[in-house]
C-alpha cells in the first residue's frame, strides 16, 4: 500500500504519457517509417524504397510551387501581420478613449476559424460576388479585382485573408509589450532630445524584441500549418497555383493514393517547423536560467 502511495504522481501521469507517446511521437515515427516504404493507398511495409520518395517530392513540380508559395505566404503573412499589428498597437497605445472596443474589434477575427475566414474572403474577392461586382453595380465599370482567378496572383489573396485574420492577435501581443515599457524611459528619451517618431524607432521598438520573437514564432508555425485557409479560399487553385506544403501532403496522402510520398512531405514540414521552433525554445530556456 505504501509502495502504491509513493508512486501516485507517476501513476496519475502514466495514462496521458502513454497516450502522448503513442498518438504524437508514435505516429511521427510511423510517418517517418512510411516515408521510406512504397505505400500507396494503404500502408505497406514489405518493400523499402529508401529516400527515393524524398527525391520524388523534391522533383515534383507541385512541391516546387508549394515551397515557392510557402516562401511568399510565410514572408508576407509574418511580415504583414507584424507590421500591421505593430502600427495598430502603437496607435492604440496613445491612450485613446474607445481603446477597449477597438481592441476587441481588431482581435475579433482571431475568434473565427480559418474556414470561415476563407469562405468569407472567397466571396469578397470573387469577381462574380464580391468587391468587383459591388464596384460594377456602383458604376465603376472598369474596376477589376480578380486576383483569385489568376494563377500568379491567387496566393496573394491567401496572404490578404491570413493577414486580416491574425493582425489583431499580433497587435494584442505588441500592445501588452508596449504597456510594459517603463514610462521613465520615455521621459528620459524626451529629455535626451528624442522626438515622437525617433523615440519609437530608437527606444520602444528595440525594447519590444521579446514580443517580436514570440510573434514571429507563433505566426511562423501558423504559416507552416496553414491548410484550412487555402482549402476554403481557393482549394489550392486555380490549378495548383496556391498549393502549400500542407495541401500537398493532404492531396497526395488521401486523394492520390501516394501515401509514402505524402508521408515524406509531412516529414519535411516537420523539419521546417523544427527549424523555427527549436531556436525559440533554446533562447527561451536559456533566458529562464
Amino acid at each position: 500500500m505504501r509502495l502504491l502511495r509513493n508512486y501516485v504522481p507517476q501513476l496519475t501521469l502514466l495514462p496521458s504519457l502513454i497516450l502522448v507517446a503513442i498518438t504524437v511521437y508514435g505516429f511521427i515515427a510511423l510517418t517517418m517509417v512510411l516515408s521510406l516504404t512504397r505505400s500507396k493507398m494503404l500502408p505497406r511495409f514489405d518493400r523499402w524504397e529508401g529516400f527515393s520518395n524524398y527525391l520524388k517530392v523534391w522533383n515534383h513540380p507541385r512541391w516546387e510551387v508549394a515551397l515557392e508559395n510557402f516562401a511568399i505566404f510565410g514572408i508576407l503573412y509574418i511580415g504583414g501581420t507584424l507590421l500591421i499589428g505593430l502600427v495598430l498597437a502603437i496607435f492604440l497605445d496613445q491612450r485613446i478613449r474607445i481603446e477597449g472596443s477597438l481592441r476587441t474589434i481588431y482581435l475579433y477575427p482571431m475568434a473565427l476559424s480559418f474556414i470561415v475566414t476563407g469562405v468569407a474572403w472567397q466571396w469578397i474577392m470573387s469577381p462574380d460576388l464580391g468587391l468587383e461586382r459591388a464596384f460594377h453595380i456602383w458604376g465603376w465599370e472598369s474596376f477589376r479585382f480578380d486576383w483569385i482567378k489568376q494563377s500568379d496572383l491567387a496566393i496573394y489573396c491567401v496572404v490578404i485573408a491570413g493577414v486580416w485574420q491574425a493582425s489583431g492577435f499580433v497587435m494584442a501581443l505588441f500592445l501588452a509589450a508596449l504597456r510594459g515599457v517603463n514610462q521613465e524611459i520615455l521621459s528620459a528619451a524626451r529629455m535626451d532630445g528624442a522626438s515622437g517618431p525617433s523615440i519609437y524607432w530608437h527606444i520602444i521598438i528595440p525594447a519590444l524584441r521579446p514580443a517580436f520573437l514570440t510573434a514571429i514564432v507563433v505566426q511562423g508555425h501558423l504559416a507552416i500549418k496553414s491548410y484550412d485557409l487555402v482549402v476554403a479560399l481557393t482549394r489550392g487553385g486555380p490549378g495548383f497555383s496556391t498549393e502549400l506544403p500542407s495541401t500537398f501532403m493532404y492531396e497526395f496522402t488521401f486523394s492520390r493514393n501516394e501515401m509514402a510520398l505524402g508521408a515524406s512531405s509531412a516529414v519535411m514540414m516537420l523539419v521546417l517547423v523544427m527549424v523555427l521552433i527549436v531556436p525559440y525554445l533554446y533562447s527561451e530556456l536559456r533566458n529562464e536560467r
Binding site: S187, A188, M191, D192, A207
Partner: protein, 359 residues
C-alpha cells in the same frame, strides 16, 4: 542673480491642486534638495522643471529666461531617474551617447565625450555591456554618465538612491556630493530621505501638502524649524514635541508639575497659552549639571542600544520623550532618573497653528 527661479508655480490635476504657489530661488552651483513625504508634490515640481509636466500657473526661469514654455530638450537640463531609465536594448556606450546622437554630434565627438565621462565615473570597463548585465550601483553610474555627457546647466535627480541597498546608498551619496563639488553644476535633487537632504544639500526645501514648508540651508532647517512639520520631519529620531503651558510669569513652561525655564531664543506668548516645546533627542544627557541645561525628572521606559548611542524612551509627566544618550549611560529600564537637557536651541511652537515662535 539667481540661476533657477521657481516663481509662484502651481499645479492642478483636474480639480485637485497638487502644488500651490511654490517660490524657490537658487544660485549657480547650488545643490537644492526637495525633501518631503511621498505625495507632497516634490516629484511633480521636479518634472515641471524638467518639462515633462506642464505648469498650471507661475513661471520657471533659468538665468532670467523663461523656460516653462520650452520643450524638455531645449532646456539644457539633464535628469537621473529613480529607475535609472536606461535604454534596455542599447549598450552602456550607446546609452551614454544617445543624447549626443540626438543632438547631432559627430561619431568622434560622441566617442570622445563618452570616454571622458566614463573615466570620470570609473565605468570605462562597462561600456560594451547591456544595462541588464549591470548591478544597481553600476546602473546608477551609467544613468549619471548619460546625464553628464550633455554638459547641462542643471541636473535633476529623482530619488536616485532609493533602489540601492543601505551601504551602497551611503557610498553613492558621498560620490554625488563629491561630483557636485568637482563639477560645480547646479543640482536639483528630490528625496524623501532627510539624511540625504542634510548631508548633500546647500539648500533644502521641505515640502508637504503641495506647499514649501520651509526653504533654507540645512543648518537653518535643522536649528530653526519653521513649524512642527519641519521640526519632526528633519532629524532622526524625530524631535520631541512636548505639550506645555506658558506660566503666569511667562518665564517658564509648565509640563504637568515640571517647570522648565523658557528657552532663550523664543518669543514668550501670553500666560496660559498652550504650546509645544521642541526637544531634539541629542540634547539630552546624563551627568553633572552644566550652564544652560535643565534637570528633568523622567522615568525610563525602553532602551534601544544602536552601538555608539542608545535610544532611550522616557516618560515625562506621562508624555513619551525619545532621547539619545551615549552608549553605556547609567540608566535602567523602569526606574526614575534625572536627565539634563540643553535648552539653548529649543524652539516652541503654537499648539494651534504649529508655527514656531522665535524671538
Amino acid at each position: 542673480m539667481a540661476q533657477l527661479t521657481i516663481d509662484n508655480v502651481s499645479k492642478v490635476f483636474g480639480s485637485t491642486s497638487v502644488l500651490q504657489d511654490i517660490s524657490i530661488e537658487i544660485d549657480a552651483g547650488e545643490f537644492l534638495v526637495l525633501v518631503g513625504p511621498s505625495g507632497c508634490g516634490k516629484s511633480t515640481l521636479l518634472n515641471m522643471v524638467a518639462g515633462l509636466l506642464t505648469i498650471s500657473g507661475g513661471q520657471i526661469r533659468f538665468d532670467g529666461d523663461r523656460i516653462d514654455n520650452l520643450e524638455p530638450k531645449d532646456r539644457n537640463i539633464a535628469m537621473v531617474f529613480q529607475s535609472y531609465a536606461l535604454y534596455p536594448a542599447m549598450s552602456v556606450e550607446k546609452n551614454m551617447a544617445f543624447p549626443l546622437r540626438m543632438a547631432g554630434f559627430s561619431k568622434e565627438d560622441q566617442t570622445q565625450k563618452v570616454q571622458e565621462v566614463a573615466d570620470l565615473l570609473q565605468i570605462s570597463h562597462l561600456l560594451k555591456r547591456k544595462p541588464a548585465a549591470l548591478s544597481g550601483g553600476q546602473r546608477q553610474r551609467v544613468a549619471m554618465g548619460r546625464a553628464l555627457v550633455r554638459d547641462p546647466k542643471l541636473f535633476l535627480f529623482d530619488e536616485p538612491l532609493s533602489n540601492l541597498d543601505a551601504k551602497l546608498r551611503v557610498d553613492m551619496r558621498t560620490e554625488i556630493k563629491r561630483l557636485h563639488q568637482r563639477l560645480g553644476t547646479t543640482i536639483l535633487y528630490v528625496t524623501h530621505d532627510q539624511v540625504e537632504a542634510m548631508t548633500m544639500a546647500t539648500r533644502i526645501a521641505v515640502m508637504e501638502g503641495g506647499i514649501v514648508q520651509q526653504f533654507g540651508t540645512p543648518a537653518e532647517i535643522y536649528d530653526h524649524p519653521a513649524n512642527t512639520f519641519v521640526a519632526t520631519f528633519m532629524g532622526s529620531p524625530a524631535m520631541n514635541l512636548i505639550d506645555a503651558v506658558v506660566s503666569p510669569d511667562q518665564q517658564h513652561l509648565q509640563i504637568g508639575a515640571v517647570n522648565v525655564p523658557m528657552p532663550p531664543g523664543v518669543k514668550a506668548p501670553a500666560a496660559g497659552t498652550k504650546v509645544k516645546l521642541g526637544l531634539r533627542p541629542e540634547w539630552f544627557g546624563v551627568g553633572d549639571k552644566a550652564e544652560g541645561t535643565f534637570d528633568m525628572p523622567v522615568r525610563v521606559d525602553l532602551i534601544e542600544p544602536t552601538g555608539p548611542d542608545m535610544y532611550v524612551s522616557v516618560k515625562l509627566d506621562g508624555q513619551s520623550v525619545m532621547t539619545r544618550l551615549p552608549a553605556g549611560s547609567d540608566v535602567t529600564q523602569n526606574s526614575d532618573c534625572t536627565l539634563r537637557v540643553a535648552l539653548d536651541k529649543a524652539p516652541i511652537f503654537d499648539a494651534e497653528t504649529g508655527l514656531a515662535l522665535y524671538a
